[in-house]
């Protein structure tokens, strides 16, 4: 090993210098100082030496053209995708320590991570939100590349690998959906994997391979886990390497090619030290911001334990699959869900080979840019149409039950703070009054206790909303004829002092209230000619929900509220 005369030191200092040099050959303390200091480098340029001798610096270019670093051009989106990938990997590793991929334990380990592990809830939040951000950033990166025509020759292959990475990102995000083993996980993946079943020929085989059986169960959980933590990340790392290697080979497409009268600049930004410190600053600021958002403004939800026997009312795919949901509503599952979606993905993959126009100028790409904008608008509209709120025939009684007293999750009643819901038995009735041709409030007030005037304004507002909603659904759902809706609130359980060995029989305030929504309406149906016919029978539907005093703790609250 070459030893520079500068450091013929003995002892620990000398040993450290030797070790340091074995990582970065012939880089002593002086060379490092020269490397990381601003201003022109001395000759021979020590920055060059780091780039050629160290793997970690070798994978970055020695210098970037000033055009490529302009913030308004690439916006660092590709870099940011990688940032999120690393963030997901780090938080994912932390979560893996505590998580166990078996249906009996998965949910329990999730609650353990959220309750008992120091910073565990934060790690989960970051991992969940980071996944959404990563998908968003990757999509934005693709859009930027499209609109600046960076996919054109000689960079077709970069676009192609980028599309694979987009696909990987979606799969990574989706495969992680199942792991918490809560209701959202279970049903979103049930829908997702049933899409695979719809494919003709190999579809059912793929579905079975993915789930390890006919239904989502222990096999599916293990398979999704392995996909999520091993196979997909490995493939993603490989394709990131290929993608980035190609970017290094071809360099970032120059911005001056987009405009007619813009001159290329010759100025270069050295990677060491300017760019490296800039990136460091961005990493630190982004990390801080992300932790801040995740701790104070956002909470990853954990729903109830997965239950194959209890289907939630509106199961929905993650937001980046809304467009697919929207398309499925347009028509046949196979044609729209697989045919059209397949064609769209295929066209995106092959875009550089379809768009043969060699010019990158906006002036020459009017059609492509306009087409891109139209496609983007269509994408947003179809995604919007994919929301559960559109295009699905709804049953009034169901909708009222789901929005006020859902079996799972938070209902409208739960938005009222627990203490502002009446403490005594309370009945509120809305029914149709034929003489006034309107919905009126019937029984209104508490059986015992405070008068209606003494009710909290928030609670009253909720009652008023219920009246409007009853009216709305009676108009919308023609089979929901003249409903009578009763909302009952009853005290159910009182808090005990303790349930430990030193048990006390003293009760300490209400712990639980039961809210019952009872709906009765005239049954109606269509006859052979398609006319609406009312029958003398009545239909009835009742659902109830318990309000817990400690039920919902909002992020940032020091005191739990309902």
């Amino acid at each position: 090993m070459a030893v520079s005369p500068e450091s013929k030191r003995k002892g620990l200092g000398g040993w450290l210098t030797e070790v340091g040099r074995s990582f970065f050959p012939s880089m002593g303390a002086r060379e490092w100082r020269e490397t990381l200091r601003g201003g022109p480098a001395p000759r021979p340029n020590p920055r060059m030496r780091v780039h050629s001798n160290s793997f970690w610096y070798h994978i970055r270019p020695r210098s970037l053209s000033e055009e490529a670093t302009a913030w308004y051009y690439t916006m660092g989106l590709g870099w940011m995708s990688f940032f999120f990938f690393v963030l997901e990997a780090i938080t994912g590793l932390v979560l893996m320590i505590y998580y166990s991929p078996s249906p009996n334990e998965a949910y329990a380990t999730m609650t353990q991570i959220m309750n008992d592990v120091p910073l565990g809830g934060l790690m989960r939040n970051i991992h969940r939100l980071g996944a959404h951000f990563m998908v968003a950033v990757v999509i934005l990166h693709m859009l930027r590349t499209y609109f600046t025509a960076s996919y054109k020759a000689p960079r077709q292959f970069i676009w192609f690998t980028g599309m694979i990475l987009l696909f990987m990102t979606l799969l990574l995000s989706f495969s992680g959906y199942l792991l918490p083993w809560d209701q959202l996980a279970f049903w979103a993946v049930t829908i997702g994997s049933s899409m695979a079943d719809a494919a003709p020929g190999v579809g059912p085989a793929i579905g079975r391979l993915l789930r390890g059986g006919a239904e989502i169960g222990a096999g599916a959980l293990l398979r999704f886990y392995l996909l999520h933590i091993f196979m997909l990340p490995m493939l993603t790392i490989i394709f990131i390497s290929i993608h980035y290697y190609a970017v290094r080979k071809q360099e970032i497409s120059p911005i001056h090619e987009l405009f007619e009268n813009k001159k290329p600049t010759k100025r270069k930004i050295p990677f060491l030290p300017d760019q490296v410190f800039f990136e460091l600053a961005v990493i630190v600021v982004l990390t801080f911001t992300f932790i801040f958002i995740n701790n104070f403004f956002w909470d990853a939800k954990l729903e109830n334990h997965a239950n194959a026997l209890e289907t939630p009312q509106h199961t929905q795919a993650p937001w980046y699959f809304f467009w697919l949901q929207g398309m499925l509503k347009l028509g046949d599952k196979i044609v729209w869900g697989l045919g059209i979606a397949g064609i769209i993905f295929g066209a995106l993959f092959l875009l550089p080979y379809i768009d043969r126009n060699p010019s990158r100028r906006f002036k020459d790409r009017k059609f492509a840019v306009a087409g891109g904008i139209v496609a983007l608008i269509v994408f947003v509209v179809v995604s919007y149409g994919g929301l559960p709120a559109f295009g699905i025939q709804k049953v009034g009684s169901n909708e009222l039950a789901v929005s006020y007293v859902p079996v799972e999750g938070e209902g409208r009643v739960m938005e009222v703070p627990f203490d502002q819901v009446p403490q005594e038995k309370f009945v509120y009735k809305v029914y149709y009054d034929a003489t006034k041709d309107a919905f009126v409030e019937g029984e209104f007030g508490v059986a015992e206790g405070p008068a209606p005037e003494a009710l909290s304004p928030v609670f009253k507002e909720m009652l008023l909303e219920l009246k409007h909603d009853v009216q709305k659904w009676a108009e919308y759902d023609v089979l929901f004829v003249r409903p009578t809706v009763t909302l009952t609130i009853e005290p159910w359980l009182y808090q005990q002092a303790t349930d430990t060995a030193e048990f006390s029989t003293a009760v300490d305030g209400l712990l639980q209230k039961r809210v019952t929504l009872d709906m009765e309406w005239t049954t109606a149906g269509y006859d052979k000619e398609g006319n609406l016919v009312e029958t003398p029978e009545k239909s009835r539907y009742t659902q109830y929900k318990f309000l817990n005093r400690n039920g919902v703790v909002h992020v940032g609250d020091t005191e739990p509220r309902n």
């Binding site: 309750n115 410190f277 990390t287 334990h305 006390s504 209400l510 039920g551 005191e559």
Partner: protein
């Protein structure tokens, strides 16, 4: 560049400070708040499971003597009957010695049942640990007069309507059978089988078993078992010992439910016991 270094240093410090703040805040408030919420979720989950699995016998509000089994004990006074300070808790080999706490005892009874009573071993029926824990948490929350009078009233009216809708089921109070073997089988049936199988035509989790050995067979499957074998002593013994499940078990022609899920009982019941149950099944007529 100097600016970037300064920003990096500043935000590194800020991040460390923020993480420290979160860490300390978590142990004091955030974790406590999350735990409260999880406890409430558990209580709600326990309640749903209680209504599904336990309320039929123990009553909606734990008042006991529910519509499904008039012999089921009251649960809302467990603390007074079995809790700390009572004889059952403190005696030699009592609850304290064997289980440590009343909650553990409740969990144990839900999981492994109580021999000699109709209380089934739910864990062996496929109930998960988190369900058992949640139900126990709910049962514990009932103790000490915590249930409101309104809830008790509503539980009573629920029991009345449920009872009116339920098919008549034999209770442990029915007169003993003449045949001592069949009588012993009845006890076993009431302990291990009745949570899924009715003694009438009505389907529960499994098919009703009235008339199994009769000329017309059961309502659901007639004179064959779900696996296609004819009903006789040998085949029924095999079915109970080894259970159903697996391919070839078709849906019930009556209501479309699949009855392939009969769990094997060979590990729980000896062959003698099963033969006694078969002797008892022969007494059930349609």
């Amino acid at each position: 560049m100097t600016k970037n270094i300064a920003v990096s240093l500043l935000f590194t410090l800020a991040t460390v400070a923020l993480l420290g703040f979160i860490w300390i805040g978590q142990t004091n408030q955030r974790l406590a708040a999350t735990e409260l919420r999880q406890n409430a979720l558990q209580l709600e989950f326990g309640q749903r499971n209680y209504e599904q699995y336990c309320a039929t016998c123990h009553g909606l509000a734990g008042e006991g003597q529910g519509p499904g089994n008039k012999g089921a004990p009251k649960l809302s006074d467990l603390q007074g009957r079995l809790g700390p300070g009572t004889e059952a808790f403190t005696r030699e080999n009592g609850i304290q010695k064997k289980y440590g706490s009343l909650r553990n005892y409740v969990e144990g009874i839900i999981a492994y049942g109580k021999t000699g009573t109709a209380m089934p071993a739910w864990k062996l029926q496929g109930m998960r640990d988190d369900q058992i824990k949640a139900i126990a948490a709910y049962v514990m929350s009932m103790q000490g007069g915590a249930i409101s009078p309104v809830a008790l009233d509503s539980a009573k009216s629920w029991a009345a309507t449920t009872e009116a809708g339920l098919p008549p089921t034999a209770t442990p109070n029915e007169p003993p059978l003449d045949n001592p073997v069949a009588e012993a089988g009845k006890q076993t049936f009431n302990t291990y089988c009745i949570s899924c199988h009715n003694k009438t035509d009505a389907s529960g989790v499994g098919p009703g078993l009235a008339g199994l050995f009769g000329e017309t067979g059961t309502k659901a499957f007639g004179t064959t078992l779900p696996n296609g074998n004819p009903v006789n002593d040998e085949n029924v013994l095999d079915w109970i010992t080894n259970g159903g499940g697996g391919p070839g078990v078709g849906p019930d022609p009556q209501d479309g439910a699949s009855y392939g899920a009969m769990p094997p009982q060979g590990q729980i019941l000896s062959e003698d016991k099963i033969l006694e149950v078969i002797a008892y099944l022969k007494t059930l007529t349609r």
